[in-house]
Every structure is written in C-alpha cells, then in structure tokens.
Amino acid sequence: MATLTPSILGRRCITSVAVSIHLLCAVGQLSGADENDKDGKKLPSYRYPQMPGFSRMPYLQMSGPESMSIVWRTEKAMTPVVRFGKDLKNLDRKCDGADIIVKQKLKDLMRIAGPPPKSDQLPLFTAPDGTHQYEASLKGLSPSTRYFYAIFDGEERLTPEDPSFFLETHPVPGTDDELLFWVVGDSGTGEQRQQDVHQAMIDYVSYNNLDLDLYVHVGDMAYSSGKDDEFQEHFFEMYEPTLRNTACWPAMGNHEGGTSKGQFGYGPYYDSYIVPTKAEIGGEPSGTEAYYSFDYAKVHFIVLDSFDLDRRPVGAMAQWLQTDLEKTHADWIVAFWHHPPYTKGSHDSDREEDLIEMRQYIQPILEAGGVDLCLTGHSHIYERSMLMDGAYETPTTNEDVILDDNDGDPHGDGPYRKSAGLPPNNGHIQVVAGHGGTRLSRKGTMNVMKRILLEHGSVLIQVSGNTLTGTMIDYKGYERDVFSIVKEGVVAPIRIAQPWERPPFGQPELANHYWEGGSLPADYEEAVKKHSEWKYLAGAHPPEAWAGTEFDDSAWLTGAAGFGFGDRDDTTVLGDMKGKYTAVYLRKEFEVKTAQDAEELTLAVAYDDGFIAYLNGVEMARANVTSGSGPDAVVDFSREAQEEYQTFSFRNVRDSFRFDAPNVLAIEAHNRSVSSDDFTIDPFIAVLPPKKSNPDKLFPLLYEYVTGLNEKWSYFASKQEPPARWMDEDFDVSKWPKGRIGFGYGDGDDVTVLKDMEKNYTRAYFRTEFTIKNEDDYDSLGLAIRYDDAFIAYINGKEVLRVGIDSGRGQNAKGIAKHDADEKKDKYDYFSLAHARHLLSSDGPNIIAIEGHNVDLQSSDFTIDPILLLNRDKSQPMPEKFTELIPKNAEWRYVAGKGAAPEDGWEKPDFKTSDWAKGESGFGYGEGADARTALDDMKENFRVVYMRKTFDLDDPKLASKIGLAVRFDDAFIAYLNGKEILRRNVETGRGEKAEKFTGKQKISKDFEYFPLGSQKDAFVDGQNVIAIEGHNQAVTSSDFIIDAFLVVKDE
C-alpha cells in the first residue's frame, strides 16, 4: 500500500548526495572498493554483493493479498526455512518442507525419466554447477500487511535482522488502496548508468515519503542474451535492495528471448520468475508464464509476450487477452509488454513487423476492452503519448486518433479526462520506457507522442482513486515528465482532426528540456527586466559550481542581455566569439518573496543555438543541448533565435527557490559550431498571469462554478485583526493582498502559502465578489471547501455557515474543533447555501467572506480552499404558478424491454424514433407508482426506460423560465437537444452503463422541480427535444416510476 504524503506531485528532485548514501545504508550496501564476486573477480562498485550463504539473494515474487513467494539460490543444498512475522523481533511463523519447492540445475534432469514434468517441477535450465533454487510459498497472509522475514538453513539464520527484509501483501482486490509502481525497461547492462537509474528511483521515493508497491520490468533485463549469469549480474545484483521487498512483475524482452522460449516456457527467464498461470492473483488463467494478469486493489495488470508468440487474433495469447478483458471489473487496466506499437526511438514501429503486429492485432483488443495505460520498452528512448485511441494504421497517423492533445500535466494543461469505469475506446496513454540503462538513440518523431526524451530514467506510476499519475524520473532524480488521467463522470471522446504535432525529427525543436517551452502571453510582467545587466564569462569555461549561489562572479564582466553576434540584434556584442569559442556563461541575482510569487515566474529566452539554465545551481531547463554541459555540451542542431521569446517553467525546481536570500539564475549558452555565423542568448524572467482552469475538471456533472478554481481572493493574514465589519459589502479591501485559493501552510498542498501563520496567529480572513445571473440559481448555491480546522462564511455581510466553531467570531470565536482537510486536492466538503437565497442579488456583485480558524498556535497546518458552486443535483419546490409546455401525462415515445437499449445518439434531436412505442407519462410499475403506462414486465428483466418528446418554443425569452418536473424512482438523466442537462441519483455513465447510484428514491405522487434557467442556451427557437432515461437501481426492485412534464414559470 502506497503512503502518499506528500504527494508524488510534490515535484521533488534529488540534489543531495547525502540522501543517497543514507538510503544505501538502510536498504543494502553497494560493493566496496575491495569486494570480489564469487569467482574472485573484482565486483564493480555499482553492483550489490551477495550475502554469505547465497548465490542469489532472496527476492519476492507472486505477491498477492494472502500469499507471497520468496526465491533464493545457494551453491549447495540446504535445509530451507523461512521465518516471518509482523514484528521484526518476533518472526513467529514458519514456511518450510513441502511449501518450499527446490529446483536444481538441469544436469540433474538426466536422472529424470518418463513423461515431462509439470511446470512447477521443472529443473533449472541453466545455472552454475550445484545451484539450488528455493521457492518458498508463504500462504495464509493478511491483506495489506507488512511481514518481516528471514531465511534459515535449518536453525542457522542466513539473512540479518534487518527491516529491509520485508514483504507487503496486496490489498483485497477492489478496495480503494493506492498503488505506486516502478516501470523500467531495457536496463540490463550491468553498468553504472543502470544503477544510477535505480538509485534515482530509490532516492526519489524516499525523499517524497513514498512506498513502492510493485516493480514492473518491460523486458531486456539481462543483456545480451538473457543467460543465467547475465540475469545474476545485470538484474539481481543490480536491483537487490529493491527486489528483496518488492515483487518484480516481468515481461520478456527479445534479449531474454535469446535463451528463453515463450512457447514452451523454459530458459533462464522462466527460471528466474514465478508468475500466475492459474489466476492466482486475479485475472483469467493463462496456462502459461509467457503472458498473465494480476490485480492490485482496483488496478488490473495484463502482461504479454510480444517477442516469440503468435500475436494474431487467432493465437492463444490474443484469445486469452479477450477473455481476460471480458472478465475484469477493475477500475483501471494497465497492460505491459516489450515491443512498442508506437515508437521512433532506436526502433521504428512503422517498419518492424513485430511492432506493427502489436499495433494492428493487440491494440484493438485492448482498447475495445477499456485499457488505460500501455507500457513498453525495446526502443531505447522515453516516449509518452497524448490521450489516444484507434491508431492502428501503418504508417501511424495522428489524425482523428488523438482525443486530447494537451500535455496531461496536472500542473500544466491539466490531466487527461476519461469516463469513469472501463468504457471502450475512451482513450489511453502509451509510454515507451526503453531508457533504463542501455545506450539511447532516436530515429524520428512518432506523431502521437507528446514527450520524447533521450535521457536515461524510469517511470513511477501512482494510482489513487480516480487518478492515475505517471512521472518520468531521470537518472539524476529529476522529474522530466508528468501526466495524469482522471476518470470521472462521462467523457465523450472527441477525435481531433489535426492534433498538435512536434516538428519533424532533424529539425530544430524544443527537445530535451524539462518542460516544453511556450510563447509569452500578451499580458506578462517582467521580474528580471529585458536587457537588464548580467554577469557573463565568454571565451573560457568556469570552474565547477559556477551556477550555485556561493560562486564569486565578481571577476566576470557585466553586460546587458542579449548577448551574441552576427544578427545585429545583440545588446552586448561578442565580437571575438566566431572562430574562437562556442560557450558563454551568464549569472543574474534576483529576489522572490513568497512561494506564491515563484509559482508565477517563467524564464523567457531567445537563443541560438542552445542553452542550459540553472536556478541556484539546480538544472531547470535545457534546450537543444542533447547531452553534457560546459565543455562537454553537445548541440545537435543549429537554431536561429526567433523574434518571440520561448518560455520555460520553474516548476521542476520550485523547491530550490530561496525567499530569504537572493536567487541566482545561471545560463550556459552554446553555439553548435565555432564557425557559426551568429549566436544569441537573451534571457529575462517574466511574471505570467494565472492560468485559467477548466471548472469541469473538478465537478464535471452535477455542479457549475460560481467562483473559479484558481481565482484570486483578497485576504488578511496577520497577528492583527481586521476591522469588525470586514465581511460587509461596502468594506474596502483594496489594500488587502490577493492570492489564489487555497490558502494555508504545512501540508504541502497550499497554493497561497501563509508562511508566517504557524505559531504566530490562528485566524485568517478571505473574501471575493461573485455574481449570480438567474434567480432560479439561488436555491442551488453551495460552498465546496477544504478546511483545517474551522470556518465561518458570510454572504453580503450576513453569517450563513459556521463549521467547527461553537460561538463568537474573529478573536472571540470559541469552541474550535480540530479538522483535517482531505489530503486529496479534489476532495471538498459541500455545504448548501440555499437557505441564504434571500441575501443574494442577481443585479450586482455579491460578497462571500470566510474567516478561517486554526485550533491553536501550535497547529502544524492550516487550510482554507473554497469554491462557490451551483449544485445542479438538487430540486426545488414546484413554482406556485406555471404553464405546461409539455403537459402532465402527455404521450411520449419510449423504449422499454429486456435488451432493448436504443443505439448511441438516441438523445439527439435528429434521431429517428418512429419505431419506438408510444405511451402516456409516467412509466412504471409497483405499488404507488400510479403509472399511466404500466411496465409489467420490467421487474427481473430490465432496469432502464428511455423516453423522448418534442416540443415547440416560440418565444426564446421564455427559455430562462423553463423547468422540468419529474417523479422518479430511483434515478434519471435528462437531455435537452442532445445535451445532458440534469442527472439525479446516478453519478456516472449513461444507459446500461450508468453506475454509482447515490440514493434510493421512494415513489412519491409529488413532482420534484428542476429549473433549467442555467441551460437556457441549450434551447432553440422552434422544435426542441427532451429525452430522459429513467433508472431502477436493480432489476429486482419492487417498483419504478419515471414521469415528467415541462413548465414555464409564470411571473
């Protein structure tokens, strides 16, 4: 179970060697200078030595909710015993005897006669003479539980009493537990860079207080041909500290395929791993270790063999895949294998048959089954797609297959959005993670990819509730790419005809820097002015640490940006550069007061040909410098400086800002060639206006925003108190600072950080204006808020809500209760403000004011994060006077019957319903239903009824006064001219796929009334169509009613 505080989105990067050293001491010890391997050869410093008694250290396999396998090897026979328990000091349980399978090297097979042995009795295929492999199967474990373990030879303990020897069982499938897993591909070189990638992951996970739950390897873990000794040295000895407590789930790569055969399941690869063949950890039984599936909480994993099996739909693997997808009820599907269907890294998926077949044969099955994420390797590069679906053509085209061409970064364009559940063809992300250690290369630009990075690294995937987040960590520990998928509500896929596209490979592009550059908006300000003076060094390389804050640059020259020659636009001309040197170094000090201020900064640069930028010594951006730095920098392409500046975010170095001392922005700029005709480096720091967020992203279906998600509120946060009537409409807040919601400190998720609040004061005050255009909306106004610890809310000067405070206001507030805001940023408490309708005005601005209270000065955190919403889920009393637009008990077209769901698009105006039945509303059965059209066959047979009715609207002005009156049991969704306008008691999905029913309704004779004023733009002059689907929660329900009519409220 992952521990997710602070969030993986904390964007920490590792800059401290001390962290690495500390971790190694805790979990394992790399080889020392004098370590030798078992053959007496000097062990490289980046490999982990085996402990005495082991020829292969213990590692976990087949992790499940109630079982786990521990595997190890020795050079000679032993009496294997595993002792384990929940207390490190009290290993009170034992696994031995028949629960431990012993496998021996193949030469002992010569003694075996008769029919071939069962797979679990197979000997080792290849291994050093005398090798014994022990596979202990621990059973009867508790889910989501950590056990410590030790390996014994009889009574002799072989592993030390060390807390890193532990196993943690999976949660019960279907539970809400979070998951963090590590994805690595093409790593098995046994060289330093492979270990760097591993260590970067360990450091990152530790620094962010995370727990790794699983390890996924997408193949090529033992170069060059997957032999036993290569597995030992390039996999087990490289990842030992991780493998002892984290099960690795493998997919076979082509290099393992050099010695292992998927068709028959033998070879060193199959010797090394134990994976499910009988659906032991969920999924459907594959009957082979070549492909398999397993569950972790709400995630279903599918693993395929893309190397040496039939990939066609007639093949056993594809047929198993179909069956497995049919069966799973998980919330997420993650599939992984070796050969990428989309790549232009070291391999080309438009030319190579095995890659093409995975795309043409396997992808359609996965996508029709609802896959969310596909992970592969093989191509030695990191490539990550946009949200995509249905790209099976060769060559790959991106037209009409991209469903969202933004970056998917929750801190950038926002996460990708999918419908809840596993709807078919709703989009997925492809990640090629072939950058785990071996040499990298790139052939071109795959047009479905959003990120292409030629850097070593790995990927961490976090699944938490309705959000999946992937983070690429490079070998230095930097976050290089972040993407999220949020599954919520119903998201209809929109195929983009001409999606965003990278420049063709070989042409200059903003490649290889951490966050894609963009253009400056028109309304930016300047924090470090254009053409301001910088320290610079030209014609020489500086010493190490030149980019840090402690470096003394007093001997450097001073000049105004931009620097360069040859294109007549330079302020400081470097007249001696051509023919003599290619690099220029710049430094500039600047101040930032708060984290909030830092969030809005961006580096703007015009450059020719490339540069690397550092904030306080930490690399923050890199453009057109493909590798190296300083004298070793490699610039692949010539690039002309554009008239427009390109922007580079400080996001990945936000933790490196200093607020109590000057910051240093350092830039090394490079020309590709000493003979180049021009050069430009022209930086400044811009302040960008806050990015508008899409309000649908948090409350997609049932709510509508009144105040924005990222809106700035005025606030008063100080040891002092504001004037008594600070909440009144006419109070002047022009001198109050403004900050974006949410406010707070201490829990790492605050947007506007109240830095000095802790131990200084317990209260802060917030207010903003809002408008409501339609009086009908007064009754559906509500406050969604994350708060810690308590608050009082006012509208137009009157108190309307008090939570966690017994009495008093401001400094006189008493009886404050402790309350923690939900760790998840999207978890708000919702409070209706319908009772305050008499305070609201639709004529002008209204004021919402909130005072937030901490329980005491010692509190470690504080949060006030409010949003005003209109709740579209709530009904109102019927208006006193109204005119019926669609009369009560009018005749509607309807579909009701077992298996009789209408085709997609039935709610749209041009849908033909001539073959639908006609009946008077309402439709239903059971006691009290009072149905005009009785559905006597509905019970036990079907649970959804679809109804449609056309009506004319001659006076468009009436649209704002129209409302829908409905009697329903249990739920319904209503559409106006094809657009969903209302849903009640059902959170997600439509038709037969609707799910998450939120409340059982009792049949009533009274209609509930839903004003549609806010949907007035959905009405059209002339003929309109209203469509309603009525839902029973269960087919066995004793009653059902859906009954509706449409009215115009009379003044």
């Binding site: 069966k327 679906d389 997609d904």
Partner: protein, 320 residues
C-alpha cells in the same frame, strides 16, 4: 534424455552467440543490426548464426526474400542448424510458399534432435498442409506432433482444434480441449472446449458454465453469443433472440467507429446471421475480410451464411 540434447544444442548456439554479444548489446533496430552483421561477415566470413540473426532482422522488416536467402545460406553452411531450418519453414509459410515450407519442415524432421523439435517441425508442416487445403493430412500431422511431445503448447491445441472443427471431428475436439484444459488450466482451452461442446451437440451439458460466465463477465457479448448458439442447438430459438440482441447491442458500443477490433466484427456478424439479418452479417463479413481476418475465425459465420435459410431464423427484430 531429449531435453538434455535440446539444452546442449541451445548452449552451443549460445556459445556461438557470444561472438556477437557486443553487437547485440548495442541493439539499435533492424537496419543497424543488418549493417553490423553484414560488416562482420564481410570482415570475418559468413557463419550460420550470423546469417540466421540477419535473417531474423530481415523478417522483422518484412523483407522475406532476403530472409530466405540468408537462411538458405545458413543451412548450406550447417545442414543440421535446427533453428535456421525452423525459421526458414516459417518464413516460407508466411510468404505462402507452401510446398517449400513443407519441404523444409520435412528436412527439419530428419535433423531434429529432440521430441520437442520434431513436434515443432510437425506443427509447421501441419499448418502448411492446412493452408494447402489438406486438412485431414494436417490433422494427422498435428496428432503426430502431440504424440511426439504431449505437452505441446497452447497454440498447437488451437491449431488442432480448428482442423477438427473443419473436419467435423467434434468428439475428439471436445476430448482434446478438455485434456489440454486439465493439463494447463488455460482459459482459452476451456472456452474452446465450450465451443466444441456446442458444435458436438452437447449444449445442455455446458449451458450452466455459459450461464455462469454471462453473469460474471463485464463484457458479455461472446458468452451471450455462445448461449444463443447453445439455445438454438437445443431448439430454443426464441430464447436465443434476447441474447443475440443484447450481444449486438454491446458489440455496437464496443466496435470502434473507424478501426474496429476484427474479433468483435466477426462476433457481430455471427449474431446478425443467427438473428436472420443476412445483409448485416454479410456487411460484417466483408468488413472483417477488409481488416485481414484469419480465415479460421470466419468458420462459424461462413457456415451460418452458407447454410442459412433465413426464413427459419428465430427473429428479424434486431434494431438497426
């Protein structure tokens, strides 16, 4: 002793591969690999393994003629190079050179050093025979492969089952899939056994299993289709209609508007055929063919369309 021989041979190949280890280690796509292998051979002379490895890269690039050239040369240099012979038989099969594939597979049978290798050649031979229209001989060869190496593998079971279905050997098909399922636990063999039992007229026996799967599955269309077929075979045509309509409704939602999964198109075609919607079924048949469907996947659909007396079909009420 058979597996030992296999291992010894594999180890000897592995030893040969050591020479190319550094090349493989820097594996950078077929084009570069081919260039490197070519350079090695130009410098040091061709070896069976280098030719074999280069042929694999040619095959990856779809350059089948170049692959066969290299493989033939490889086998000339080492006539008992089993991996090379097996790959050549496969490449010929993929090219549609069925006679050559059979000839090479038979050569392989002469040099095979283990039961597993013999069985593998027999299966290539069986597939070539099947493509040549010699189903009975192909089935006989399949059975011989299983006799040689009873464990087989999952794809072999499916190949044999397809031949048995085509030849109407339903009882054997049921028995073989049952045996395979019991030995491997593979759900694919279990499903194939269910299909075989319906074809064998044992629908009543298997109906409880099908009902259970309809209830348990998130995506039900394939099991609704099986249940409909079972009910039709039991004479309950009216009951089959609901299942078929539900299957079609689910498939409509899952079939990609532009690039559908061919297996779903075939399923819908079969459901439509069983519902008496010949036009719709033929549309799906054509679409499946456009998508490059394997002929063996069309067996039931074609059978239904060719034997169709659409006036006797259970219902024509499928909503279009």
């Amino acid at each position: 002793m058979e597996p030992v021989k296999r291992v010894i041979r594999s180890l000897s190949i592995a030893a040969l591969l050591v020479a190319t280890a550094q090349v493989i280690y820097a594996h950078h796509g077929p084009g570069e690999m081919i260039a490197m292998f070519t350079q090695r051979m130009e410098a040091d002379g061709a070896t069976p393994v280098l030719l074999y490895k280069r042929a694999m890269e040619w095959r990856t690039l779809g350059e089948m003629d170049k692959a066969t050239d290299d493989l033939r040369k490889s086998i000339e240099l080492s006539p008992k190079f089993v991996d090379g012979i097996e790959l050549l038989a496969e490449v010929y099969l993929a090219q549609g050179s069925l006679e050559k594939s059979q000839e090479v597979a038979r050569t392989g049978l002469q040099v095979a050093q283990s039961a597993q290798e013999s069985a593998a050649f027999q299966m290539v031979l069986a597939r070539a025979l099947e493509k040549s229209g010699k189903s009975a001989e192909a089935l006989k060869t399949c059975n011989a492969a299983f006799d040689s190496f009873p464990r087989g593998n999952l794809d072999w079971y499916l190949i044999r089952g397809t031949l048995q279905q085509k030849l109407g050997h339903h009882a054997e098909r049921v028995a073989d899939f049952r045996r395979g399922y019991e030995e491997t636990g593979s759900i694919v063999l279990r499903n194939s056994m269910v299909d075989a039992m319906i074809d064998a007229g044992r629908a009543e026996e298997i109906l409880p299993v099908i009902d259970q799967q309809v209830d348990a599955c998130r995506l039900k269309s394939s099991w609704l289709l099986r249940r409909a077929r079972a009910k039709i075979s039991l004479g309950n045509q009216a009951q089959a209609v609901d299942d078929l309509n539900m299957a079609v409704a689910e498939l409509e939602k899952r079939i990609h508007p532009i690039h559908p999964d061919v297996t779903l198109v075939v399923d819908r075609g079969l459901a439509r055929a069983l519902l008496g919607n010949e036009e719709g079924a033929r549309e799906d048949l054509e679409r499946a063919r456009e998508l490059g469907v394997s002929p063996s996947m069309l067996h039931l659909l074609l059978q239904e369309l060719s034997s169709a007396d659409f006036d006797r079909k259970p219902d024509k009420s499928e909503r279009s």
